[in-house]
Subunit: 231 residues, 2 copies
DNA sequence: CCCTGTGAACGTGTTCACAGCC
DNA sequence: GGCTGTGAACACGTTCACAGGG
């Protein structure tokens, strides 16, 4: 045991509990540093890496320092080492298997996303409940019946949920029973899932509505005088 | 640099400055309360609305209190009034116009998303640079040449970017020059845009990598005694 | 008595500034 | 001199608990 521990640092140091905010930035750093490594550059400073990742250099250093010492003072971070540290820390050294539920337009489009393998993920299966779709091929994978998820021969770690809101809760229940550990939910509905399963929401309309708020903000004042509402 | 632009101090309009965290939850409340209103229920308590939105009741009350008084003590919130307050606050009372850039599989799938109008958004145009795609029809909209965005007759408030990472920066520049106020970027690359434009990132692989981290976390038993390492 | 609205306490995340090592 | 790593200061977000109107 303790693979996870040794993963983070060479000297058997601690795995402090790393806040989710930090975790959510690591994939960005990973992607940036991989891009830089691909150009042949051997090292990069926190300043430069932060700028290209859209964060401040101090937060980048704080974040990376939580994975154990990974940079060298006076030099910067080794691109290769850092990429490898990040991959290991995120658990991507062995590819995580992903299934897509929903073989409609969105599911098909996401399945086509070329970057799975390159980013430590392996698309293992696509499920649907629609008999007309089952058996058709998307990319290289045939669409399987969702009921087969429960007895699927390979472990499925993560699910991308690309079904209508009405179908999402039932599909989530099936995924949870099959032992899936995380769901990325594109359906515009809050899923309540057991604690064993982690759900992240991606809602096109909600994201656009937030942007709409800010777009309205500086072009036209709304609600004049709403300040005064106090009681 | 840090995309943390302060959206408060713009154009002289000083409104009580509502934190982004709060703004990002409002669309969820809106959707939940609309669903409840559709069942005919007239009022709802903070407790119930919070549970169905996946937040705590105290945070819901704090959030809503920032939009002015919207509930009634002893009773709860009027579903209709609250929905209307939220829509107005988010600037959705007049539909915000959205364009999609990228008429590939993802762009087409997103264009098909039925909920635009219902959620205060109006899909106005779809752009691409590929001549083979220009002129084809997606849903009810023809695909237009991206160069036309600059002189598009209708105002375009928001853009959904559904192009490969390599094409995203150039497309973002065109959008920025056309006066677009917000970009929802599905391309897996950090866009740096002028301050006048707000960029939100949706990255399939990054989201899955975060889920991968947590899935690895508790499937492996935690190191016994790891508590003690905390300092 | 019910349920919102809110100050005050608490906890978490970010920035600052510099010590420490290259 | 350059750049990381990190405590300490600061800012922000959440929860608590209760005052106060219905």
């Amino acid at each position: 045991m303790g693979e996870i521990l040794s993963a983070n640092s060479i000297e058997g140091v601690v795995r402090k509990d790393v806040p989710e905010r930090v975790i959510s930035r690591l994939p960005i750093y990973l992607q940036t540093v991989e891009t830089i490594a691909a150009t042949g550059q051997a090292t990069i400073s926190s300043e430069a890496l932060a700028a290209r990742s859209g964060v401040s250099s101090s937060i980048l250093r704080k974040d990376l320092s939580q994975l154990g010492r990974s940079g060298r003072r006076g030099v910067g971070y080794s691109c290769e080492d850092l990429a490898s540290t990040l991959r290991t820390f995120l658990g991507l050294d062995r590819a995580r298997s992903v299934a897509i539920i929903g073989a409609g337009r969105l599911g098909s489009a996401l399945a086509d996303y070329a970057g799975f393998k390159r980013r430590g993920l392996s698309l293992t299966a696509i499920f649907d409940t629609d008999e007309a779709k089952i058996g058709t091929v998307i990319g290289t994978l045939p669409v399987s019946d969702l009921t087969e998820l429960a007895t699927w021969p390979e472990d499925i770690d993560l699910v991308v949920m690309a079904v209508p809101a009405s179908a999402a809760p039932a599909a989530a229940r099936i995924a949870a029973e099959a032992g899936v550990r995380g769901i990325l939910n594109f359906a515009p509905t809050v899923l309540d899932a057991p604690d064993s399963i982690r759900v992240h929401q991606v809602d096109l309309a909600s994201e656009l509505q937030v942007l709409a708020y800010y777009s309205a903000l500086d072009s036209a004042p709304l609600n004049p005088g709403f300040e005064e509402h106090r009681n």
